[in-house]
């Protein structure tokens, strides 16, 4: 669809002021919006003057609120008001949030009185709540209405309303009494009251609910238009599925980013210094952890000096621990975000399952490590790359055993840590990373050197002692 963009840019440059409105109307506003980042200030001004407020509002819906706020300041006040009137309420609210209180007041003064009231109420909902992404654009009917009258309300309002998949049945005080699916309405025959065929077991969300939960609710139940109510079940607004999809898209990116211990802003940052600074805290923490690990290794200096070959497999043990820990962490965090572990029974079940998984994989990978490291040692010994002072069997056996043990422990931690953090009201996706890394490194090392010390150094002597 890139050719569209080229066409639009050409129209902007060449079309006469009289025809530009008509010509651009045949393109999707989203494509016209994309051109706003390409054209120069002069052309931009030209568009702002020649296009009418309806088209501008449609285009602005596809631009970032910050950009729209800058554009709005360039048009004259009455037109800015008309544009805000024509925009969807949730988009208009996002734009208004960009301004200082004073400018916002001035802009709101130019809008239609009804719109002003709606926008003023929407602006106060905090970020990340259902209220902040809802719109007051919906069709409401009364339960005493006849099918015919309900149909009339629909016909009258459908042009100006974004979502018409369902109509909301409200009483005089805006209490939500039920909904009527559009499908049901068009099939119903007069005379029949709305009350007789409305659906009363309505899934709603509260205005302060977290947006991610709301988006997931809409996804799970396939809801195109979700009613948002206050504590006493009065309808305050609706959320449309396109907004829910955008939220879900953003949140999944965010989860991904957090899992790699980068911040969401990082992926859009253009500034090198800022990117670097964003990632620095986590890396500094790792450095501190690394120093603890160094101190632990120094405790085993004697073992290392005696059996240098152990060092070759240090990365193996640590990588394995880190990786299994991360695997079970990822599974657990995903389960938490899908609200699977809400009672202690299911949490316990999950931890036990992860320990079993760890044990199974520990057995498999431990056995495999024993075999491959054994073969590896024999080959490098034969090739003369290293000279073994201890039997390869003992060395590879201690590698296999410690990999197996370490795997069980790190898998268990991968499940327990995020569950505990979530119980303590920390975001498990953010905080688990450092914990898991530290624990798997520390435990991996301890197990490795202790097991190796026992099997390679202590056991032969012990056996010899018994024999002697």
């Amino acid at each position: 669809m890139n050719e569209n963009i080229d066409d639009i840019v050409r129209i902007i440059k060449e079309a006469s002021p009289g025809t530009i409105q008509d010509e651009l109307e045949s393109y999707h506003p989203s494509d016209v919006a994309e051109c706003f980042s390409i054209i120069n200030d002069e052309d931009e001004m030209h568009l702002l003057i020649t296009l009418n407020h309806h088209l501008l509002a449609a285009i602005f819906a596809h631009l970032k609120p910050k950009k729209v706020s800058k554009l709005l300041l360039k048009v004259d006040k009455p037109k800015a008001g008309r544009i805000l009137d024509a925009m969807e309420r949730d988009d208009a609210t996002d734009v208004l949030k960009m301004f200082s209180a004073q400018t916002r007041k001035a802009l709101l003064a130019t809008t239609d009185d009804n719109v002003k009231v709606e926008l003023e109420s929407l602006i106060h909902y905090p970020e990340e709540t259902a209220g902040s992404i809802m719109t007051t654009d919906y069709i409401d009917i009364h339960k005493d209405m006849d099918v015919k009258d309900a149909m009339k309300v629909l016909v009258k309002n459908s042009e100006s309303t974004q979502g018409i998949q369902r109509l909301f049945v409200l009483d005089d005080n805006k209490f939500l009494e039920g909904i009527v699916e559009l499908k049901t309405l068009i099939q119903a025959r007069s005379p029949r009251k709305v009350e007789d065929f409305m659906f009363t077991d309505v899934i709603t969300a509260k205005v302060n609910d977290d947006v991610e939960n709301v988006a997931r609710l809409m996804q799970n139940y396939g809801i195109y238009l979700l009613p948002i109510v206050n504590e006493s079940n009065q309808l305050l607004g609706v959320i449309t599925m396109d907004d829910a999809a955008d939220i879900l898209d953003m949140e999944t990116d965010e989860d991904y980013a957090r899992f790699a211990s980068i911040s969401k802003e990082d992926s859009i940052n253009k500034n090198v210094w800022r990117s670097a600074l964003h990632r620095l805290p986590w890396l500094t923490l790792l450095l501190a952890v690394g120093m603890i690990v160094s101190a632990i290794i120094s405790g085993f200096e004697a073992t290392i000096e005696q059996i240098t070959v152990l060092v070759f497999f240090l990365p193996l043990v640590l990588d394995m621990c880190g990786n299994t820990g991360t695997q079970s962490l990822a599974v657990t965090v995903r389960g938490i975000s899908r609200q699977h572990y809400q009672d202690s029974e299911s949490r316990k079940k999950h931890v036990i399952k992860e320990i079993k998984v760890g044990a199974l994989n520990g057995l498999g990978i431990g056995g495999l490590s024993f075999i491959t490291s054994g073969i590896f040692l024999i080959i490098v010994d034969l090739l003369g790359i290293i000279t073994l002072t201890y039997p390869p069997f003992l060395i590879s056996f201690s590698i296999g055993l410690s990999v197996g043990l370490a795997l069980i422990i790190s898998t268990a931690f991968g499940a327990i840590v995020p569950l505990t953090l979530n119980r303590l009201n920390f975001d498990p996706a953010v905080a688990s990373g450092p914990f898991i890394t530290t624990m798997s490194d520390v435990f991996g090392l301890l197990i490795y050197f202790v097991v190796a010390g026992i099997i390679i150094l202590w056991l032969p002597e012990f056996i010899a002692g018994i024999g002697g």
């Binding site: 068009i186 999944t252 120093m291 695997q327 990822a330 998984v357």
Partner: protein, 467 residues
């Protein structure tokens, strides 16, 4: 910080309780039918087979089909075998076609043929058509649940048609206008149909300037178009511009979630489908391949280390800081990798200039953080070497010099890892390999090897050769 707020009612749990404890069948049946198919699907996942059998018998076919649409294809393939053969065929017929195909493709060949012959002719043809399309194309995710009009129809007749089909069709907000050859010539927004007054022909209210995708288009791009143009139902056309199916915004939402999970899973070295409801054995089996791969890749790391045996034997104290350097390099590499993959998936890396800019900036981030952390690492390791009760350190190998090597290694390995972390996914993407596979074992091993080589080479040169 977004907390996971508890939803007050746990509906799947209520359903399980009803199946377990409610003795009067009539009551449980009517209770159960009041729940949303999604809740029932969640409940099925935690039930035993006998409990599931009860649920199957209490629900009507239509509802059961809806329930099956909500279950992941793997599990749905297991459950469908628990149904009576003819009921199973009915359920498959009533399900959205793309979901039915997914289930059939997950069944063993014998089972799927058995169901297949039980389906009616039209359904069989539709399924055949859909199975042709490769995974992750628009063709494989579309469904045929939509209303077709023709341009010459009067609005009144169109409305009648709509009313008669509204029960069986999920998506009625967009209607599709086709000519006698089934070529899509326009779309009608339900709003326009509702306000249109008889007599008026459909061609006068339809929009012939619509967006459509091709059956072979990648599903991710289709989802992006749906989001960009706020399309409730995107028509999917074949080469002859005939309409083959639609993809709804609701489908798009599921696909967003699935693909995001794929990427996320790959970053963690997990198979995408590791399911909360899998048994420990199945989970273990699914995670094992990555670990085995990692194990073998790690033998390369061991080989690299073995080749530095002399250096290690001479300066055992170097081993102390080996995990530190590997850990940090691995992490900065993963960070770059994740940023790059996110950018690729958002298509901000389309032009050559952008790619070069991105890689340069990632490298610079690595250098900046490398220098800062290198200095810190130098200082802390120097302090550590002085306070730890270490054995004989050769008089020429002073703590200061060892700390210097550690610091320098951090600087250079962090810079290199950041560079690799951004370069590798870009190259894979160019080669049309999913860049997300670079995560996990591959990037870990590559980072380990480069960091070790940097560390021990620097150590041999600076501590041994120079003396």
């Amino acid at each position: 910080m977004p907390k996971l707020t508890l939803i007050k009612r746990n509906k799947p749990k209520e359903i399980v309780a009803i199946t377990r404890h409610e003795k009067r069948q009539k009551i449980s049946q009517s209770k159960l039918n009041r729940y949303h198919p999604y809740d029932i699907s969640e409940a099925l996942l935690v039930m035993s087979e006998t409990e599931r059998q009860k649920v199957y018998s209490w629900l009507n076919k239509e509802k059961l089909a809806k329930v099956f649409e909500h279950i992941s294809e793997e599990r749905a393939a297991d459950f469908i075998l628990e149904l009576d053969k003819s009921l199973a065929a009915d359920v498959l017929t009533l399900m959205e076609i793309d979901d039915a195909v997914d289930i059939l493709q997950h069944l063993k060949f014998d089972d799927s043929t058995e169901f297949f012959v039980l389906l009616d002719e039209t359904k069989r043809n539709q399924i055949r058509k859909l199975s042709k399309y490769k995974h992750l194309t628009a063709g494989s995710e579309m469904n045929s649940d939509f209303i077709k009009l023709n341009p010459g129809m009067d609005v009144k007749d169109a409305m009648k048609l709509l009313v008669s089909q509204a029960n069986t069709i999920e998506m009625i907000e967009t209607l599709f206008v086709t000519d006698e050859n089934d070529v899509l010539v326009g779309v009608v927004d339900l709003k326009d149909l509702i306000v249109a007054k008889h007599p008026k022909k459909i061609e006068n209210i339809m929009d012939s300037n619509f967006y459509a995708v091709n059956v072979l288009d990648g599903i991710q791009e289709v989802v992006k178009d749906i989001q960009k143009y706020d399309t409730l139902a995107m028509p999917v056309l074949n080469e002859d511009k005939k309409i083959e199916g639609i993809i709804t915004m609701y489908d798009a939402m599921d696909i967003i979630e699935e693909t995001a999970h794929d990427d996320y899973a790959k970053l963690a070295g997990l198979p995408a489908e590791d399911d909360v409801y899998d048994s420990a054995k199945t989970s273990a089996k699914k995670r094992l391949p990555w670990l085995v791969l990692l194990l073998f890749m790690n033998m390369i790391v061991s080989t690299v280390l073995a080749s530095y045996e002399e250096t290690i034997a001479a300066i055992a104290v170097l081993v102390l800081f080996q995990p530190l350097i590997l850990g940090m390099a691995g992490n900065i590499g993963t960070q770059s990798l994740a940023v790059t993959i996110l950018r690729i998936s958002r298509e901000t890396l389309r032009t050559k200039v952008n790619v070069i800019k991105h890689i340069t900036s990632e490298f610079l981030v690595g250098v900046i953080n490398g220098v800062i952390l290198g200095v810190l690492a130098f200082l802390t390791s120097w302090i550590l070497l002085n306070i730890l009760p270490l054995g004989q350190i050769d008089s020429t190998i002073t703590p200061f010099r060892v700390a210097g090597v550690v610091g320098l290694s951090v600087v250079s390995s962090l810079s290199v890892s950041a560079l690799l972390g951004s370069l590798i996914p870009v190259i894979l993407n160019k080669l049309r390999v999913d860049p997300a596979v670079a995560s996990g074992p591959f990037i870990t091993t590559i980072n380990d090897v480069t960091a070790l080589m940097v560390y021990f080479t620097l150590a041999s040169v600076l501590l041994l050769t120079l003396l």
